[in-house]
Symmetry: C2
Subunit: 255 residues, 2 copies
Amino acid sequence: MRPKIYLFGDSITEFSFDDGGWGVSLANHFSRRLDVVLRGYSGYNTRWALKVLDRVFPTAESGAAPPLAVSVFFGANDACLPDRRGAFQHVPLDEYKQNLHSIVSSLKDDTLGYGRAWTLVSACLKRWPKALILLITPPPVDEDARIRHPYVENPSGLSERTNEAVGCFAKACVKTAGECGIPVVDLWTRMQQYPDWRKAYLSDGLHLSQEGNKVVFEEVLKKLNEGGLSLENLEVDLPLFSDIDPGDPFKAFQQ
Amino acid sequence: MRPKIYLFGDSITEFSFDDGGWGVSLANHFSRRLDVVLRGYSGYNTRWALKVLDRVFPTAESGAAPPLAVSVFFGANDACLPDRRGAFQHVPLDEYKQNLHSIVSSLKDDTLGYGRAWTLVSACLKRWPKALILLITPPPVDEDARIRHPYVENPSGLSERTNEAVGCFAKACVKTAGECGIPVVDLWTRMQQYPDWRKAYLSDGLHLSQEGNKVVFEEVLKKLNEGGLSLENLEVDLPLFSDIDPGDPFKAFQQ
């Protein structure tokens, strides 16, 4: 059966099957090779993600085939400021980092709540030890655009997020990846390397434009490739039309 | 876990996650409610589809959760004429009809090769008896455009398909759906109701333009809705952001 990769995150993941979205671009890139399964939950932060993780993914005991990879893309909501609109989405920086650790170890080891010592003696509880877990930092935020495009009335006239605060969450995400020994896409830094990033990459100061989606697609693809998930390495699901012999089509279907 | 629907077919299914494609439009429409899983195989006819069916879908014994629906969308390649380019894709009309019957009964009953009598005494072999199986006829063909856009050199100057022949396959598909008591989208008829169908709905005389994709999306959605698969009837996977109480966010996550 065709293998899969999960995209786990907030609205930037949930909306990634929109026209030109990074999720559907991955699905098309890996067409006939793997399924891209969206698990994006608009508005969610790492605290809520952790709360629902065992309802999002099959457990180790389910017998479900492990995915080849899982992207974990949270932080944009955790970074809402605690004294502005969206405060109830805010997660303190230390907790964000700890939550990311817990998400990663839960995906790898399925021992959420038991801690590392338990993992060592309990191999049967490992969830997906071989899956490539990829962290993605939140993208930068354009504060002016956030005020122009509020989701709900915002009489304060202040952005619910600042780019500086989001940058702290991005740095914590990068640090967590290092501590876990897993790859990370530092979107916050990558996008700001382009001077016109606000207009080019964002649609409302927070979510991605088509160009922004392209950046995420390319950066995630690079990390998947580096982790061995490339068109060359992945088997095609059933013979390609070009590999079917017009003189003896059934030959291609012999197992 | 989130339920799924499978889209099973040829290139018109395989390419349905392209920009504006009918597959990704379904995925976005049912976002957070179900997964749309592409099983499109470019160039395939029903003969080859039947040959690989048990490698495409999990068997009844696998323990995998049954899908809510499967669309079966073949015929465009079966309808290649037996005396032109693409002859090796041709399937005689009677066999096409029989193959569709076999595909439907295999998805429902998993008794491929055993016949109906066996099904009755062998409930344990039933694959997905409750899944909505939806047939889709091939779309009409624009012969002039097929000559202008050949995939491979075609010195004969004759289209490998005629719209008249495709129409016979479409009629056989509709008839099969009636015999099986399952819904069908008669795309061949539906598209030709619009006088400018050649330019509006097709990109190369065979595959779908964005407008053509929109027609397929709308017609398939209508049938899914009629079969009870609608936004109203399907559960949302985990609480929507709008249903989370800012004063007590965790309340929404209590099971």
